[in-house]
Symmetry: D2
Subunit: 391 residues, 4 copies
């Protein structure tokens, strides 16, 4: 409960400060018998690594992962999986000038007041470097989901006002990794990259939207009433640095429609007239509903299809077998390379110089983090669902 | 963890189906020594009661509350507070025609598949009647917050496309209860009411946005890294029926600004040039940033002010002393008074007749529910913050 | 965490004071599809009911149970099961003379200091009447265990110095209910009853030992490292009023043997020379090891047998397929019918008169409580064990 | 919940196998502002270290502790404290002969069946080497308790049949560390040592009893009803390897007395005739009640004294201000240096050779482990007690 654990049956506890000895975590509750694909885990980590392209921070970190327990001869044993990444970039330089300064829209002030002390080197615990642990655990969660053919895919849908205005089912998500901004539409990707380059030159930052799509989730994940599937997904996403908003399915755009337009009609087993066009998809709006035109998911007698998917794959808080999808809004990060006025711990006005190595836009690197947190939620509910019924 | 508990130190566990014997809950962890204002608790319950106006469902329920434990001579004893509301409206009518039918965008199908059985009478556990327990617990949470002068106020900000386009600090929130739609701006309220009346005649439903504003929260609430204050608030809101989105502070609108525009500049103790106009407030957008022009909150040496409040009162996941505010998006509820095509449990196509007593727009009645859930989150963190420091 | 919940996947939260409106609880996490045998549940409740014989308190309580939710047409639905028993015996008499007095070895003083307030009527929350909720939940847990052929049986092994000096496998546990003291050996039972009658005449009380035996538990229950099966069993037992000690298998008597004597030798599949006589069984000692001579439990290829069962069916914190058994020590309850010196809330010396209706020996009524708590532990681990392995 | 976390507000999660890369843990919830005495923490670790005397195992381990996070400039920051000890003794030798063998009364068989896989090198996760993490966390917990003047002291009370037959208040507990067996009575200590030497020569093992005494705990720790202080203490102790029993205060010996003899009479503020002689202390019994003759603890108006302390400092599950004390029974450990018959994973009979480096008696090294677990429980309740009352 003190805030550094996530999940119940598949539980991640993380530790580490930006410039401390290491970042890492413990996964408790990983079922025994999972073969760990170490290359995959390291590859996931590399997706969030700084310095991976010219539009991300140039901080060099190798992020070499070490597993300390819970895996024997490459297989999980059911005991806790501990892991860490050393902070190689720990320079003996003097951070003491930051000690008393509160940067605007950072956690400096709030940590100081909450705890009476903070590790001010590079943001300490509030640094997004902490997400290393999430990505490692998320990678392991993905390996479990893979056994059930469940996929978790995210992509950059919007950067500033540059928006990919297509439904996910109209996109080839395998192309997300084909460019440095992680947008599966090449043309939009290039626009985003150009825009981020401009922002970088200004020493400024920009936010955007990441969409996450989860396919092949079985019917029945999510727990009424407080632990609805999307409540946990939202909780997971809102715990990521710089996230300001979350919406499931048709989300905020639901407001623009009537119930008769929004309801997702079930298709009888004898018909399949899914049009692939959702009513809301004709609107020019950021967060409109997405449709699963393909409907190729229905695999068992348990599953039915709905004509539209405004529900985002979740009804009554429980997955219904359609793709689960949601949007996550990231603000522009607070660290800018411009002069700013602020205060110090004595309430005196100061001027902050913008310098160092930072991300003009965190979204490309946040894509694997969104996926990781979503995977943690899904695995937790997948395990929990084993106890839904007596037999 | 099975989903019917919320909170850690101030923990609510709820029970009850729409047409079962009763709805209720247990609050475990309420500190001893709180005087219960029973009239206030019942009044909160009346705010969510059906049949309170012609724009809500006409289901008649008295919602008479009984406390069973944990309160002695009007004061909390530190032991669990159990309470219940009997379901007076239990009619011996035959619901069996609903047994096999899956209503679109309801929980019928998912409950059936998850559990293999469901109480189909009036939606069973998935009915919003369950929120009675939340409102009761929230009322007690509010009484605790009141001791610290913390207020939690919600209002209807948007119904369909009718939007109250003002910052909360430009509004007199005490007027929220002055009209049946719970919008503090009388002119907008009348438009909303007229629109809901139209929708009702159509037998249709409409969604909207509720904004919640929490004032006077002390600096330091929220737990890094997973239990950020807004992560828990979002989790709480997304667990309410029909909620599809959550955004803190400038939320999704953050995307439209650069970091240099979004950062909330701290004001030094010698200056107070808060303009009351946030950069984002010039935009015509649903979810724009709100500004706390008044800044009358700073009460102690612990507190500082920021010129704008795009952060929504939370930085690094921890309250910074500025007002906490967020928007909650509700879809139009799924129950409409129109004919709809659907399927039954055998996958056969059926036609559903729209009949009964339902809400064309749940937002007015959801206002106290949003407040209740927010109050639960705040009390939990308020108690937890007592352990932040050694002394 | 505030203390009134027990279990994780099968979680009971209880409420109620001795002379408040009701005693009850909520079970969250009961799997769907369990047929509730209401007669069995009520029968379990009757086993703990006061006034059931002349050696228990004569307080008359009908303990009529009402289920409020979670059961539909006699079957559990997977939603929370709430239940309550009204306190019929609430007399409008004046308890105010107890308000300021602290009874020796009761919870009066500690509750007052912890909370600053207490419901002093009949002990309030500290009354053993609270165990009603445990017995109800335990009965439902037993119904689940029954589906797996797992039995949980307790009996009174010792009252004062009168001890049943036999291993459980030498006893016919079906005879436990054949006498009012719940000791399966008729001769010893009669001695115990006579002794309790003597104690009752003296206005005094006496303690003893209850032994609990769990048969047919599958191999694999219990979680390393902190949630060892016996750690949770001990935790469960020590939360019962008046319990002062817990020991698994050979328990405290293990001290009297060497490792070479205590080790439970596995029997190979080709041999079965289990003697039925444990080394420790030749000792005249309260808490000696028990042997499972019968060894009829081995049902699947998963199970092996051990020659002795000093381990009490648990090795490394995990059930090994042999019977799990443990002893629970109850002190003589503090409420005696004699004059006692004590103090009041001002620290002044007072004299307490012994009067009212109380149990000279709680053990017979504690038998179903011990079983109930053990059943809660076993069901929790049974559900949790479904997530041990990937497949 | 998967079993490797302990505590709620001060929560330890541990990891590591005996011959894996490292043993360690994360403490989440340690309040900010605690100065870490690193020498003290290392010293505690040295108390449990193997090879510290000729009566313990000769396995050489330096147990060098590294902190990875949560401490800045020697002070806790409120963020998670991660730490690890590398397993220096990892030899590249072949353990594969153990792979298929099940040692009697070890966890080999149960781990294999539960998980379908186990790290068989040196017992893997079931090795007591895991307690390193407990001792580190316990040391930090002790530093917090020290700020409140609360002490946690354990000592070896019995080895085999050699028993220290004195109440703790008759002993000088500062002498516990003066001999290698950790018994504060020098004469008894020498007898114990001689006995362990004999057992060692036999290649056998022996168990015993550790008593733990907690002084200066404030009134009010412990949570009704399931989380009684002694229920949590028992839970903590029973999670230690080889522990078979737990008893609070007069424990199992309570059975030998009547309620009128066992009740702990409160002393009025005007009298202090505490005799220092508890009725039960005249009995020659292993687990008799202890008396706190000194009664020097009463420090504030909150505290009262009782004439005897059969309750073990806890009434109604809540500390009453008197010393909390309890006994923990350890069986002789299963690893003996003698030939034993057993089975392998195919159910075939095998003969195990006794060889290697092992403890003839673990009690001396278990003393700091008992203290550590007790300290964790006490700190958790100490923090939790801050939320008992509204103000």
């Amino acid at each position: 409960m003190p805030g550094n654990s996530f999940g119940t049956l598949f539980k991640l506890t993380t530790f580490g400060e930006s410039h401390g000895a290491a970042i890492g975590g413990i996964i408790d509750g990983c079922p025994a018998g999972l073969k760990i694909d170490f290359d995959f885990v390291q590859a996931e980590l590399s997706r969030r690594k700084p310095g991976q392209s010219h539009i991300t921070t140039q901080r060099k970190e190798e992020d070499t992962l070490e597993f300390l327990s819970g895996i024997f001869e490459g297989i999980t044993t059911g005991t806790p999986i501990a892991f860490l990444v050393r902070n190689e970039d720990q320079k003996p330089k003097d951070y003491s000038h930051l000690k008393e300064n509160y940067r605007p829209s950072h956690a400096d002030f709030t940590y100081d007041k909450k705890y009476g002390i903070r590790d001010y080197r590079g943001g300490g615990r509030s640094s997004a470097r902490e997400t290393i642990a999430r990505v490692v655990a998320g990678a392991i969660a993905k390996l479990i989901l893979k056994e059930k053919n469940i996929t978790v895919e995210s992509f950059v849908k919007q950067v500033g006002k540059i928006k990919l205005d297509k439904n996910f089912n109209e996109l080839d998500l395998s192309k997300t990794e084909s460019n440095i901004v992680r947008c599966p539409d090449e043309k939009t990707a290039q626009e985003m990259i150009s825009y981020i380059e401009e922002i970088k030159i200004l020493g400024d930052t920009v936010g955007g939207v990441i969409q996450c799509v989860i396919k092949n989730a079985p019917v029945g994940l999510g727990e009424p009433v407080f632990d609805k599937l999307h409540a946990r997904l939202g909780y997971a996403m809102l715990g990521i640095n710089a996230v300001k908003g979350f919406e499931l399915g048709s989300g905020f755009n639901s407001i623009n429609f009537k119930g008769s337009e929004m309801n997702d009609v079930f298709l009888s087993s004898s018909r399949d007239d899914s049009t692939g066009v959702n009513l809301s998809s004709s609107k020019d709006d950021l967060t409109k509903g997405e449709t699963n035109a393909t409907l190729r998911q229905a695999q068992s007698d348990k599953q039915v299809k709905t004509k539209t998917n405004n529900s985002g794959g979740i009804q009554g808080g429980i997955s219904n077998g359609m793709p689960v999808f949601f949007n996550v809004a990231f603000k522009p990060v607070a660290t800018i390379m411009q002069k700013q006025t602020s205060i110090n711990s004595r309430g005196e006005e100061i001027t902050l110089e913008g310098k160092g190595r930072h991300d003009p836009c965190v979204l490309p690197r946040a894509v694997p983090i969104v996926e990781a947190m979503a995977a943690l939620v899904m695995v937790d509910f997948l395990l929990l669902s084993r106890t839904d019924k007596l037999f």
